[in-house]
């Protein structure tokens, strides 16, 4: 095993083990204060034996978890974390990195199956970030008014599910979904209309590009002025945000069919409609999905911004802006978490549909022609 470490892995192993050794030394004066931490330091130091003995990467994973556990368990209720505990953070992180590094290598070498384990790596990375966040905010006594710890956010999240759900319904279900659907469908239809007339295309595309550069933040107060305080103005902002990406992508996509594919239609004396339905729209599929994916993240952001400029007293943007005003920063982060989860899920759903619909595209079927 020790032979198979890459340069990067070797450095990580040295950092992890070295920090363990140093931490062990630094813990001796206060021995017994944090037994879990002591164990972690000791085993970390032991891991240096990997230079001469085989050391499974699963052990690295276990050590990363042990380190995170020890750190969180020994976080002080008040004041700063003891200096040598920061070594545990570095060591634990190095173990996590080393673990994913070696796990990825094992998957690549075919020693582990792709499915399942492939998902573990991004998850570990995310968890590592959260642990670092937790330890740094609490260990360095960062004011919760500036950046609350993930545990505080989670607690608030659990305690406020009612509010969060109501806000989610107002913003996502009432504003984002209708706005997204209208914006995307309108962009698609206008693209098809524009595509038929080279004159319109030549006229609209430069202006479309100009409009898509408009900072939507500026549109939001105008839309609130035009469409009122409720979800309609938010949906309007979402429509404005999603329309142009869809327009530009679809126009490009409708040109994606190759000359020879079009000539083929021509040899059948196919009508415009037939060519559109049987060739150009399917060929535009990947482009249309590209816009749908871009729009899935834009839409939520647009609705939230618009809520900064006037809303009924519900909605994710409302909660975030008043939350900052009231210094309920943990609630603000809970809302941000909802936004990130909803946005990622939305994106993921679109990406899944894309895999199903454009199964034939090289980027989906894995590149082999």
């Amino acid at each position: 095993m020790s032979r198979t470490l890459s340069m990067l892995q070797l450095y990580l192993a040295l950092i992890a083990g070295g920090c363990g050794l140093l931490g062990l030394a630094a813990s001796l004066p206060t021995i017994g204060a944090a037994p879990l931490m002591l164990i972690f330091f000791a085993v970390s130091a032991l891991s240096l034996l990997r230079l001469v003995l085989p050391w499974s990467f699963w052990l690295d994973g276990v050590l990363a978890v042990l380190g995170a556990w020890a750190l969180i368990a020994s976080l002080p209720a008040e004041g700063l974390m003891p200096l040598h505990h920061w070594l545990a953070l570095i060591a634990s992180w190095a173990f996590a990195w080393l673990f994913v590094e070696r796990l990825a290598a094992a998957i690549r070498a075919g020693k582990l199956p792709e499915t399942g384990t492939g998902l573990v790596i991004p998850l570990i990375f995310g968890l590592a970030l959260i642990v670092i966040w937790e330890v740094v905010t609490r260990g360095a006594s960062v004011s919760p008014v500036l950046l609350p710890a993930p545990s505080a956010i989670a607690t608030r999240f659990a305690a406020s599910t009612g509010i969060l759900w109501a806000d989610f319904v107002q913003t996502f279900i009432k504003s984002v979904i209708p706005g997204y659907v209208i914006g995307c469908v309108a962009g698609l239809l206008v693209a098809i209309a524009v595509d038929r007339s080279p004159f319109l295309k030549a006229g609209i595309m430069p202006i479309g590009n100009f409009m898509s550069a408009l900072p939507i933040i500026g549109i939001a107060p105008i839309m609130v002025m035009w469409f009122g305080f409720d979800w309609q103005s938010k949906a309007a902002v979402v429509v404005a945000m999603t329309f142009f990406p869809m327009l530009v992508n679809t126009v490009a996509g409708l040109n994606a069919a190759s000359t020879i594919e079009r000539d083929l239609m021509s040899t059948y004396a196919a009508s415009y409609r037939q060519t559109l339905m049987k060739l150009r729209l399917p060929a535009a599929g990947p482009f249309i999905f590209n816009a749908l994916k871009i729009n899935s993240t834009l839409a939520l952001i647009g609705a939230i911004v618009a809520e900064f400029f006037g809303t009924p007293v519900v909605g994710m943007g409302f909660r975030i802006s008043t939350g900052v005003g009231r210094l309920a920063i943990d609630l603000v982060w809970a809302e941000i978490a909802v936004a990130a989860i909803a946005g990622s899920a939305f994106y993921g759903v679109i990406a899944l549909i894309e895999r199903g619909v454009t199964f034939w595209h090289p980027s989906v079927r894995g590149g082999r022609t």
């Binding site: 190759s258 000539d263 021509s266 090289p362 022609t369």
Partner: protein, 265 residues
């Protein structure tokens, strides 16, 4: 359709020039050629001599810039709208989102064939090109040769009397090519179609054709039209007969004449 004349394609003083930034490209100049019903005409010539362009002009995919061109006695445009021909492109040009059978059915859908008729024709043409059993596969799941055969099936499915084939067997190995050549000959003999066939291979041209059109580039001209003296019935080993070799030698000479090596490649 087969009105007062049996000429399927008739070109006289045909010219076709592509406008280009730095001087126009003359792809065809003063081409005079008559193709009669039931003929199998091969076009051969160095790269860039205008073979594809000529076929595309017949198919109304390019507009001639001078001279006249008629297809079935009409303008190429009207012939195209009459669905007078099937075209096999140099690349298979199958739609990747359709299965093989749906690709073959594509022209039938567009031309409004009923679904039972469609299924029957797809079955028959796929069998003809030896692709039975691959109906439900997608193009990218097939080898290049199979794709090419599917594209031939697609062009055959709606039974046009004129077949335009642009290097259909270019990507295939010799054995497969031999096989398809004889299949094509059988099909032609059976159906009395008129076939225009572009190839780079001299033996292929000689083996298949009743008439071989040799072209030369810059500008694209017809330098020789060789009428084959081979019988219609052609076993594969006809290719070792002196008659065959003699025609092949004539084609090669014609080709070489139009081929100043340095400038073409």
């Amino acid at each position: 359709m087969d009105g007062r004349t049996t000429a399927v394609v008739e070109a006289s003083s045909l010219g076709l020039t592509f406008p280009a930034g730095d001087g126009d490209i003359v792809a065809l100049s003063d081409v005079n050629l008559t193709i009669d019903k039931g003929e199998f005409v091969s076009f051969i010539g160095p790269s860039g001599c205008g073979k594809t362009t000529f076929l595309r002009a017949i198919a109304d995919l390019e507009k001639p810039t001078s001279g006249t061109l008629t297809v079935n006695g009409q303008t190429p445009e009207n012939a195209r709208k009459d669905r007078a021909y099937g075209y096999v492109f140099q690349a298979a040009a199958l739609y990747p989102w359709r299965t093989i059978e749906d690709n073959v059915a594509l022209p039938l859908e567009i031309m409004g064939y009923g679904s039972a008729d469609r299924a029957e024709r797809v079955r028959r043409t796929l069998a003809l090109v030896n692709l039975s059993g691959f109906e439900k596969k997608y193009p990218w799941q097939l080898s290049g040769g199979m794709q090419q055969r599917a594209s031939i099936a697609r062009a055959l499915s709606f039974d046009a009397d004129l077949l335009l084939m642009d290097e259909p067997f270019g990507a295939l190995d010799e054995i497969v090519r031999d096989h398809l050549n004889s299949e094509l000959l059988k099909l032609w003999a059976r159906t009395e179609k008129t076939i225009c066939f572009v190839t780079h291979s001299i033996p292929e041209a000689v083996y298949l054709s009743t008439k071989i059109v040799v072209m030369s580039p810059r500008p694209g001209r017809v330098t020789d039209v060789i009428v084959s003296t081979l019988p219609r019935e052609r076993p594969l080993d006809i290719r070792e007969t002196p008659e065959f070799l003699e025609i092949a030698a004539r084609v090669r000479d014609g080709l070489r004449a139009g081929h100043s090596y340095e400038e073409v490649v």
